[in-house]
């Protein structure tokens, strides 16, 4: 499916990162990252395993603290934010985990209700049911509403994970390896879903992946993370139009060729 033309506001950065550094013991993962995510944009962060892609979005969502640098999300500087403000901010950010992270002791319905009943306390039972059914319908899995996560396939779990984040109408979506471990057809379906989410929910997204098909299908802009820094940022073609020996193999070894 051809990606629609999104409306990207290049004057409005919903995420602004400057000089971000993060190390685990002696190993420096992120070594001074600068990044802007613009309103309405899908930004794909590409990189090999262990380059700190997931660390980056965990810092953005406040799950990890940076060692140095500033991270501003929807106008809030994460370094100075209070616990209550961070909690309120997190409702505006959707995080789709690599392994979906569905609550395996709850049905699909309960999984989706969980963030809703805790963050929108004035909703009636009818409104909660309506919201759950609406997002499930949006990801095409209404029929799984009473199933347990263990009964779902990998692709279905990914979709439900995305639905659970969409139920709070987030302004920013963070996707951690959305196509990892899925078959090629399901990968395409997930990529299409990411584009649908961008179009329908008007979200700005960071998509962490090492899957070039995903990057090409979903990304409005690609940022290549190498040696702890963004070495190449631009459109898909701009990023890979290079003789850089660190970038070329990434493209050459991918099945998209």
């Amino acid at each position: 499916m051809k990606k629609f033309k999104p409306h990207i506001d290049n004057n409005n950065a919903v995420i602004r990162i400057r000089g971000l550094k993060k190390a685990f013991e002696d190993y420096a993962v992120l070594r001074g990252i600068d990044l802007d995510l613009y309103q309405g944009e899908n930004l794909v962060v590409l990189g090999r395993s262990g380059t700190g892609k997931s660390v980056l979005i965990k810092i953005i969502s406040g799950l990890l603290k940076p060692d140095e640098g500033s991270v501003e999300v929807l106008g809030h500087e994460l370094e100075t934010i209070t616990e209550e403000e961070l909690q309120a901010l997190r409702i505006r950010i959707g995080f789709s985990f690599q392994n979906s992270a569905l609550y395996d002791s709850m049905t699909v319905r309960k999984n989706l209700e969980f963030p809703l009943v805790r963050n929108r306390k004035n909703l009636t039972r009818k409104e909660i049911d309506h919201s759950v059914e609406e997002v499930l319908d949006a990801v095409g899995l209404l029929k799984t509403i009473n199933q347990m996560p263990a009964e779902l396939s990998g692709g279905q779990r990914k979709r439900i994970g995305i639905a659970r984040t969409l139920i709070l109408n987030p302004e920013i979506m963070l996707y951690d390896e959305p196509t990892a471990g899925l078959d090629p057809i399901t990968c395409i379906e997930i990529n299409e879903l990411i584009n649908e989410v961008q179009e329908r929910f008007k979200t700005s997204s960071i998509i962490i992946t090492h899957d070039l098909t995903c990057a090409k299908m979903t990304g409005d802009r690609i940022a290549m993370l190498l040696d702890g820094q963004f070495q190449r940022v631009g459109s898909f073609d701009e990023v890979f139009d290079t003789n850089d020996e660190r970038v070329k193999p990434f493209f050459d070894y991918n099945f998209i060729q």
């Binding site: 997190r90 985990f97 392994n99 969980f114 805790r118 709070l168």
Partner: protein
């Protein structure tokens, strides 16, 4: 002294220092974990539904085993005590002896040890698995407080449910004791019960209750601490479950000694 002994000494000292440091760091982390529990558990919103659900889980998980063990403990204890008492012609003291042993020590201790094995390990494994599969992170990023929902509810549930289970164990153990006494001495149920409650004082009931509450809190907090802070990977889940049982059991014995000592001052 040869050179290998002199070089191995600093290595041993270094290893010991590292272990000691780790021990105190861990102690400090547990202290922070307990403080966080008290900071969050009694502040609204209260997860009453989840607390009730966890109380039910604790009860259901241990009920059968506790019933069986309690009955057998009462029966065997009475049976084993009879020969010693009969030497002095004092078998009529059996109900009093059994009641003191069961109510003061055995009921809370047996209940706590079984719950540590059944409930503590289950809490450690459940939270450990949730940590490994990023379910706790998922709760955190969706604007909910996982500590309150997962830890506070479970610790409160064990603190409430263990005393109830310990009381139940006490009565079941007494029933076991009665069965043995009734079979051998032909004592009636009313007489047995009168003799059971005669030697017990208010301090016995209060100390037993406090003991169960402390044991319940220990099982919950240790299980949650191990699970909530478990390492990544399946090995981390196993370690969390194992650590929950071993640490809780050790602490239960330490607390037993301390509470018995303190209760002794009030008698």
């Amino acid at each position: 002294m040869d050179s290998s002994t002199s070089t191995s000494q600093p290595i041993v000292r270094k290893g010991l220092k590292k272990r000691l440091t780790n021990f105190f760091v861990r102690l400090y982390q547990i202290h922070l974990f307990i403080l966080r529990f008290f900071k969050e558990a009694f502040v609204p919103p209260f997860e009453l539904k989840e607390i009730m659900n966890q109380c039910y889980q604790v009860g259901v998980r241990s009920f059968t085993l506790i019933s069986l063990t309690g009955f057998i403990v009462g029966l065997i204890f009475t049976k084993q005590s009879r020969p010693s008492l009969s030497e002095f012609g004092a078998t009529s003291w059996l109900p009093s002896l059994v009641s003191i042993a069961i109510m003061r020590a055995l009921a809370p201790l047996v209940t706590a040890l079984i719950a540590a094995g059944k409930v503590g390990s289950s809490i450690g494994a459940e939270l450990g698995s949730m940590r490994v599969t990023e379910q706790i992170d998922a709760m955190e990023v969706s604007g909910t407080k996982p500590f309150k929902f997962l830890v506070c509810t479970r610790v409160l549930a064990t603190t409430i449910a263990i005393p109830i289970l310990a009381t139940y164990t006490g009565f079941i153990a007494l029933l076991g004791g009665y069965l043995n006494v009734a079979t051998n001495e032909g004592t009636s149920y009313t007489t047995f019960m009168q003799q059971v409650f005669e030697p017990l004082t208010f301090v016995d009931f209060v100390s037993s209750l406090i003991k169960s509450i402390v044991f319940g809190f220990t099982i919950g907090i240790v299980g949650c601490y191990q699970g909530y802070n478990s390492d990544k990977g399946t090995e981390g889940v196993g370690k969390a479950a194992n650590g929950a049982v071993v640490t809780a059991m050790f602490l239960i014995f330490v607390e037993e000694v301390l509470i018995v000592q303190i209760a002794g001052w009030f008698r």
